[in-house]
Amino acid sequence: MKTVKSAFKFKGGVHPDYNKELARDKAIERMPVPAELVISMSQHLGAPAKCIVKPGDYVVRGQLIGEKNGFISVPVYASASGLGQLIGEKNGFISVPVYASASGLVKAVEPRLGAAGGKAPAVILDTTAAPNSVNDGQSISESGESGEKREITLKPLDWKTATKEELLKRVEEAGICGMGGAGFPTSVKLNPPPQKRCEYLILNGAECEPYLTADCRLMIERADRIRVGVEIMRKVLGGPAVRIAIEANKPEAIAAMEKAFADIEGNVEIVVLPVLYPQGSEKHQIYATVGRIVPEPPALPCVVENVGTVAAIADAVEKGKILLSRVTTVSGDAVVEPKNIEAPLGTKYADLVAFCGGAKEPPAKVLSGGTMMGFAVSTLEIGTTKTTSGLLLLSKKRVVQYTSQACINCGRCLRACPMLLNPAEISKAVEANDIKSAEPRKPRRPRPRRSEECPLNEQPTANN
């Protein structure tokens, strides 16, 4: 194991205000189960899970409430994975099960607003209600770690003796999906087509989003879990080389990971990335760590996984823990005390804010996620999901509101664009309703084939 500096710098990128110092030194706090949970059936990429409980049911923490469900008729490429599996066609189903993250009474099953703005079915759970029935079927442990009386856990596995199939099944059963933000089903990612060998497993610990420190704290405090997760994933993927990508502004995390991985065998390197947004973008991270450019459509022998997901895999296998909680950074200048909180999935934003002492002043803007890619939300009644990495409350002075001025071709967007597009030209073409001009004309000089959802597009100037 050695630590190296990233040898490859992608073109473009920006340096937004990071503001990570607000929550960087706050140890992860476990939040007690709030009185009400809003557990969405759509916490992952793909079809929402199918709800199998109804109002009046009493559920136990860890009980399955949303079945894997959904059929994707169009072939969807795993843009989240360098290996480029054709999902949908191969698997037919891409979905992730949802479990009750606390025991309680199902008050309602109804469509609820999600962070991204759409509505998805959600289970509203009253966690203060007394049990009215006892569920059976799975083993019920009497001492849940969350302090609850009842919790359903899976049988712990010894990853050294378990088969690849057992491990994959466990990842799937535990309801694990990518916790970096995209929510890609992890069992699909870890199961590439047999003819494709995974050469690199890249751990994404860049956390380049401003304000967010959840992954950083996880690397500092749970480096041992991440190490176990890496060993499990290495086994499942057939022994790829491991690259742990961390941005240079997290020296504590780098030190903790160095310590945890000091005696690991095989080809493992910690790659220190220069601070530059978007180092956490999968394509750019693959380039920054192993120097390979992901072609279109994606096909590279690399699997990139967020450090939080890796820790969740370790817990699911070694401890039999279903993914029922995650670490979320609650920050922003309008929060009384910014914190990194491990809260049950479905905890309402309002409860997270209350756990941080409330708001100093009425926030002007509330973001689910960071300031670059996060979603502005209209209400605090939204429940957290497996991909809620942050909740930001920004005061009026942090919120920039402006009327866009004419594009003057300053070229800042071109210099900032890490996808090497020409945002100015695309924007003008779209404004002129000339979609064709925004698309490629000749293969020699391809224009954007698909414009990634890009926060930098609007970043540098008034030209948007």
Partner: protein, 333 residues
């Protein structure tokens, strides 16, 4: 039950939720600040006529902009300061003694014909100030080529003179006709030809803002430091002019760079965002083209100065250069 949150008060917008605070107005303000040294130098050398010309151009441009926007029933855009930049640049490219009504006509042309007719800021194919200058040079050739001497008030008997460029033009001719005098050596000996130092500080006849190379360089350094412009266009432009004059002979290469509109052209006119390429590669081609055309006109053209025409021609080619130099998307083959 009382709703706990105040949903309607949260601002909703698409990402990103952070901003670099760059804006058109801020960029234009930077350009104005960068033009202050050369403006001051112009006033120092040419006195009150320079002040009046600058004031006339800037105010006419602002009024024309406001009137145009009003007539088109669009937002008033004088707040973006682009009209101030156009007015100032135009004034700095005029001889100090120009009749003020001509400056008014030129300013109206710059804003109305060269800019708003095409749709306003960002849509104009040619640099408005340069287009107006070219228009005035053709329409009012006499006054546009009548130059005040620096400190003309000290020598009231002869206040106008030829520019060094006009003198240098004759050297090109002299060389072409195999004259016995090697023109390069003429330098200080030639009557009235300024020394390199005089050229650098700007003590020579010329347009208000083009004479002081040092003041222009200061402004350019400010723009580079503020990251308003990149080095590509100015450096390649000036290097091309320098290299061309080394190869072609005629006037000394430094004199070619320091006189006429090359400095202001390379630093402030050719770097105009709207009318120059956006990619680094495109900027290199653009800068080279400007320098080459400028020298070709100086050597072979009818006018002693070719800088503004060179930039205008390259403005016209800019969309083509942009097309040739589109970046290839990350991952595209």
């Amino acid at each position: 039950m009382k709703p706990k949150d105040t949903a309607e008060h949260y601002i909703l917008s698409s990402s990103p939720h952070t901003h670099s605070h760059a804006s058109v107005s801020r960029i234009m303000l930077d350009v104005i600040v960068a033009l202050l040294p050369t403006t001051a130098a112009g006033i120092w050398f040419f006195g009150m006529p320079a002040v009046w010309t600058i004031a006339t151009c800037v105010s006419t441009c602002l009024v024309t902009e406001a009137v145009c926007r009003l007539a088109m029933k669009r937002d008033n855009t004088i707040g973006d300061l682009s009209a101030v930049v156009t007015g100032l640049l135009l004034a700095l490219n005029l001889p100090a003694g120009i009749p003020l009504w001509m400056a008014v006509v030129g300013s109206v042309f710059a804003i109305f014909i060269a800019k708003q007719v095409f749709g306003g800021l960002g849509m104009n194919p040619f640099n408005p100030a340069l287009a107006a200058r070219a228009f005035m040079l053709i329409s009012f050739t006499g006054p546009m080529t009548t130059w005040l001497k620096p400190y003309w008030w000290r020598t009231p008997e002869a206040v106008t003179t030829a520019t060094p460029l006009a003198t240098m033009k004759t050297w090109f001719v002299a060389e072409a006709t195999a004259s016995a005098t090697p023109p390069g050596l003429c330098n200080h000996a030639c009557t009235g030809f300024p020394s390199l130092w005089q050229m650098a500080i700007g003590e020579m006849p010329g347009c208000i803002g083009e004479v002081s190379a040092i003041a222009l360089a200061l402004g350019a350094i400010y723009l580079l430091w503020r990251k308003v412009i990149t080095w590509h266009i100015p450096v390649i432009f000036l290097a091309t002019v320098f290299a061309y004059s080394l190869i072609s002979g005629g006037a000394p290469a430094m004199a070619q760079v320091l006189t006429g509109g090359v400095m202001i052209g390379a630093c402030f006119m050719a770097t105009d965002y709207v009318t120059s390429p956006t990619t680094a590669k495109g900027k290199l081609i653009f800068g080279f083209g400007c320098g080459l055309l400028c020298m070709l006109i100086r050597q072979f053209g009818g006018y002693p100065e070719g800088c503004s025409f060179a930039i205008l021609i390259m403005n016209a080619v800019c969309p083509l250069i942009n097309r040739w130099t589109q970046p290839r998307p990350f991952g595209a083959r």
